[in-house]
């Protein structure tokens, strides 16, 4: 079946199979910045924004993207590059495999939560696993990123 949606601000027509998940479709169409990891809805690697909300693309039926706006991390490149500088400065990025999904969740959180506490941030990002960093560097980076934007 064919669906029409917007991906990273470009209108696209995609041929999909019934039951196919959005992550598979996006990667097949070259959006390989969408990573897949656990394939059980647990790790957050495959996070994309659908109509600005973070969702697990490994668990999102692709046909439901009809008429919707999807952002991968490349669609948020300006903000992602800016955030990456904070991650780098805090030593919070190692293998980088979780970064696309993690970054999108941080950007969604920035839109959704006003002045989040550390507990709010940890709660919002609990669905993004990182096996390298231990999260403390990421917390410092997020806090500084949010503070920079607050000013």
């Amino acid at each position: 079946m064919m669906i029409t949606c917007t991906i990273n601000n470009e209108k696209k027509q995609l041929e999909i199979q019934a039951g196919e998940m959005l992550a598979e479709v996006l990667r097949r169409y070259g959006y390989t910045e969408v990573k897949t990891g656990c394939d059980t809805g647990s790790c957050g690697l495959c996070t994309v924004l659908v109509d600005s909300k973070p969702v697990l693309s490994c668990s999102y039926l692709a046909h439901r993207a009809e008429g919707r706006s999807i952002s991968t991390v490349k669609g948020k490149e300006k903000e992602a590059v800016e955030f990456a500088a904070f991650l780098t400065a805090e030593g919070a990025d190692q293998c980088g495999f979780c970064s696309p999904g993690f970054t999108l969740t941080v950007l969604a959180m920035r839109e959704e939560l006003k002045n989040p506490s550390d507990e709010d941030i940890r709660h919002y990002l609990a669905g993004n696993l990182c096996r390298c960093t231990g999260y403390e560097g990421q917390m410092r980076a997020i806090r500084k990123f949010l503070e920079a934007h607050h000013e």
Partner: protein, 263 residues
Amino acid sequence: MEIKQLVLAQTIEEAYEAVKERRATILGGCTWLRMTTKSLDYGVDLSALGLSYIKESGQEIEIGASTTLRSLEVDGLLAKHYGPLFSRTLGHIVGVQLRNLSTLGGSLAGRYGFSDVSTLFLALGAELDLYPEGPLSIEAYMAATDHGPHLIRAVRIPARQVQASYQTVRITHLDFPILSVAAAYTGGLWRIAVGARPGRAQLAAAAMQILGGTKKPEGAAIAEAARQAAAELSFGKDIRADEEYRKNVCPVLVRRAIEEASR
């Protein structure tokens, strides 16, 4: 997941027809279904039925079956009547990205033993609006082994200040609960639900009777109700804990839930 034939239902009648006549699998949030199912002969998607809403209607709050768990977690109307109950209960479920997909209807229809959602709604005395049967209490729904072809259209809970508490024990913050307990004082009576036993959630009816209609029960009554809940319900073993552990944890969580709800 492969779906050989997919229908994006435009009306609830069309969805029901697919379920009844073609034994179609209902596609709700699909977060659990896609992990447990490789292939479906027939799937019917409810996402176009306009069942994603939370509204106050007279003495009730009506929640559409396709409403996501994240919507319940952050909804202002629910927070007005129930305080932080929904955000605390649902915030344990994996992550925001999954809760933006998982639906209330899917969580209840699965009658999952591990479900935080069914334990909470059982304690709140929810009423399910089924198609085509109409209203049914959640305890009747949870107790049924085979309900026949049906759809959950909406769920209703009281639109009033309800004293309630949800307690669980888990290996990690985001894991399935080893045991879950919800207690609520609603409509002048206490309701105590225990889930993840590991079977589906059940009410501890005799324990509820001990508390009766007392809004702020005494410590001795709470302790007795907690003991009774563990005595009257059955517990089992799974990968997370054995029967004895659950039976010992149960009165602790019941006591905490009643104490918190009656503060």
